[in-house]
Assembly symmetry: C2
Homo-oligomer: 122 residues x 2
Amino acid sequence: MDRGNAFDPDCPTRVVLDRIGDKWTVLVIGALEDGPLRFTEVRTRIGGVAPKVLTQTLRAMERDGLLTRTVHAQVPPRVDYELTALGTSLTAPIAMLTDWAESHLTQILASREGYDAALDAR
Amino acid sequence: MDRGNAFDPDCPTRVVLDRIGDKWTVLVIGALEDGPLRFTEVRTRIGGVAPKVLTQTLRAMERDGLLTRTVHAQVPPRVDYELTALGTSLTAPIAMLTDWAESHLTQILASREGYDAALDAR
DNA sequence: GTCATCAGTTACCAATGGTTACCGTCGAAT
DNA sequence: ATTCGACGGTAACCATTGGTAACTGATGAC
């Protein structure tokens, strides 16, 4: 079985790719890699994420079973987010991706510069 | 050096993640894995992509040096898209990701069902 | 002439993602 | 007694992106 089924627009594999492709999911997983965090801890650890968007991301990940959300009945409230085994298993492929990103970043930026320069010349 | 720099909103690693996270980039790479294709060939191989969006995706990938675009001065026109070495090097991490997706899909779908059922119950 | 082919572009619309402000609860401080 | 601040959000609004449908331009075939 190839992964060509990902080409089918209705294939559920797309669904997973969409989740991975989500701008913040990868960052959240990175943030929670070392242990559970509270909402605001996640928020400050990831730069520049709006609370609404973070909530959406966390809820979606909870729905997909990537993390658990535990509410402690306290005041002020305390909500802990923790990766599940499933969520943790995602760290390996993601690490590959970020490694690739870091090692090829200069190439990409150089390519962009060349492309944009060629455009300006026209 | 950790990959924590991805947490910096201005870090260029984000840029790469955004590209990977793009809905169609992964599919295009998969389509071109076996050799160069023409515009419409890519289009038909990937289900459900609008020409405008495909153009945008291909241009962005060209800019990043992931593929080359060669125009043959013919009528009807012929444009070939081919992965560069850089683009090909991305297939490995992507394969890991799709493998993960396929092997954990049932877990995810089950988790979603449970989550949605719990919501409906309320 | 008219039509078909290919690789797009243009104008337009819907959905998604993101930003800024605000809320409710309760203990502590004034 | 009352304001203050922490925390984990929500509400209303706006921007960007994704998507659709129709059209273009060159040319050889019919």
